[in-house]
Symmetry: C2
């Protein structure tokens, strides 16, 4: 297969971990006789520094022209604290999601049995956890009208959803549940929010076309509790943008190895793959960042194009590195392998 | 001291647990020679059923006239699922908060050393956790304009904050931090939301008047992770209404004994005290609900009026019941004491 892949290394440890994912894709090309073309572009804080914009037009065009985007990480502490900063790296990411129409963010939360001791939760609670969050990614309060009055004393954000925005992701989530354990949990705040009540109405209606899927409803505050108390109850969670941001980050730490978690953001015409973890600037250039989340996001990319055998080869090479203890210190303080060494080992085993 | 206390038992196990709190207050009256007057009124699902409104005018007036409100619980599953229900029990609670001007919700999150094994988190992670969440309670997306277009296909909620709404709670949070460990963490989403940027600006400015307090900033998604990964890092957390709802419920389960957690909602002229837990309708009338959260909310009420010795007597009686194992089965499956028995034991020990 021929694939055009846009590489967006971004900030912090993004470039280092992305380089390992590319190594693995190259190994896949060789082993399985594919032809991937990689084109790199700037995004985030580094794009602000070099081009004055967190998402330069050239970068956006490259992504639009590509079959898929492989993303590193975004964000730099120097932009975080100043509430008056006019340009922020995150704007690049948000614009990219919107422009590419990536309305669904898919985040698997899974416990790696060999690493179960790393979980902050007790073993009996985390054991068996395996769910996927479908987070709406191009609507809601992230993209609603923002206002600040002239005096700078009143600020607002609008959370708006349309039936269409809800139904397109709902169908994807129901289909995913059908291919898994037939359970879908809608997370909302329908006891308070009008937009949540629309979510409930639309999703309930769509649920009638998926009679085999058991649809449940959970208020977001309760969901935040259940993810800690009983995470293995979940199969597929569906939720809006802001709740999804919070809930999926909460979900990402319960397994104890955020450095292993990948995500996909998909739309009708485009798809982007990236690690869950952020730019982790303190680790930049130190060859200590865990490359596995980035490598597994490459595996999700392969699956997206139906290259299941190839993706499996990547996943098995990852498992092998974990079994052999070829890992970065975040997973095991006694493992002193560098980002590059782990990447090499996994690529060599594909 | 003379105090007029409005009692709002509400739904589910609310009446049962509130009755135990009243027992304890009566014991305080006797032991310390005070004179409390109790007046009861309807709120929530039961008020809908009996009076057609989740907050009848009479109830509201009673609360306004009282020195403080002691609240049970609200909510009934029969109102939860129907997205089209015109009246919902929660509206009663929201209206009460707004009408009484209870702009600050204070939720202590503490681990009871004797119950540390109940935590879903590993002991080394939860140990030493002791923080308090200051959640804004009468603004933000809860109370902003709600819209649904005529066709019912587009819905929205407005999240709006003014400088005034932010600064009044910020001052309370800074003062609390001064009396604790001098650390305040503002939780927001300033990398995305205009309202969060206003929070950051206002709180940063107010922080200059509290130079001894160390002010930190945390994005809400990161906060959802940190509460699990390292909860003992927090002292006082300050946040807006919706984030506070999620974060404080997450915080309430990490100790493993939500049945022990109380909260206060305060404003300029009124104050309300209630357990964290909800109406827990499945347990209604079974004499199994844990009354301690309700009893400790009575202790918070006493502290609010400066009756520190009295509150301490209540807290010590609670500790004694925990030490002696006089507790409901939620804390220890082997303890078969009923709601009433636990309430009696604690009241007798005041
Ligand atoms: C960087 C930030 C804007 C982003 C978000 O909130 O969506 C991030 O937290 C994420 O979840 O991808
Ligand atoms: C019942 C509901 C409206 C309420 C809220 O969201 O504020 C509850 O969850 C709480 O936290 O007190």
């Amino acid at each position: 297969m021929n694939l055009n892949i846009a590489l967006l290394p971004g900030d912090g440890v993004g470039p280092e971990v992305l380089a390992q994912a590319v190594k693995c894709l190259q190994a896949v090309e060789e082993t399985f006789n594919h032809n991937f073309i990689y084109r790199e572009a700037l995004v985030g804080a580094i794009a602000i520094d070099k081009k004055g914009s967190p998402l330069p037009d050239k970068t956006l065009q490259l992504c639009k022209d590509a079959d898929a985007v492989l993303f590193g990480a975004i964000g730099d502490p120097k932009y975080d604290i100043d509430p008056n900063a006019k340009v922020r790296p995150e704007q690049g990411l948000l614009k990219l999601r919107k422009e590419l129409g990536l309305f669904t963010n898919i985040r698997p939360v899974k416990v790696f049995p060999t690493l179960i001791e790393n979980s902050p939760l007790k073993k009996e609670i985390i054991s068996g956890t395996d769910f996927t969050i479908y987070r709406e990614l191009t609507g809601g309060i992230y993209f609603g009208e923002k206002k600040l009055n002239e005096k700078g004393t009143v600020a607002s954000d609008l959370c708006e959803y349309s039936e269409k925005e809800i139904s397109r992701i709902a169908h994807l989530a129901f289909k995913a549940a059908k291919n898994r354990r037939n359970k879908l949990t809608l997370v909302d705040k329908a006891n308070v929010l009008e937009s949540s009540r629309l979510w409930r109405k639309v999703v309930t209606k769509i649920g009638e076309s998926y009679p085999e899927v058991n649809l449940e409803y959970l208020f977001v505050d309760n969901a935040a509790m259940q993810i800690i108390l009983n995470p293995s109850q979940f199969d597929v969670i569906l939720t809006e943008n802001m709740f999804g941001d919070i809930i999926s980050d909460e979900g990402s730490v319960i397994g104890g190895s955020i450095g292993l978690l990948a995500s996909a953001s998909v739309g009708d015409d485009n798809a982007m793959f990236e690690p869950i973890h952020g730019s982790y600037s303190q680790a930049k250039g130190k060859d200590i960042a865990n490359p596995i989340a980035s490598i597994l996001s490459a595996a999700m990319l392969l699956e997206h194009f139906g290259l299941f055998e190839e993706a499996m080869a990547v996943r098995e090479a990852v498992d092998k590195s974990l079994e052999k203890g070829i890992m970065t210190p975040d997973l095991d303080a006694k493992s002193q392998y560098g980002t590059n060494q782990v990447g090499d080992f996994i690529a060599d085993n594909i």
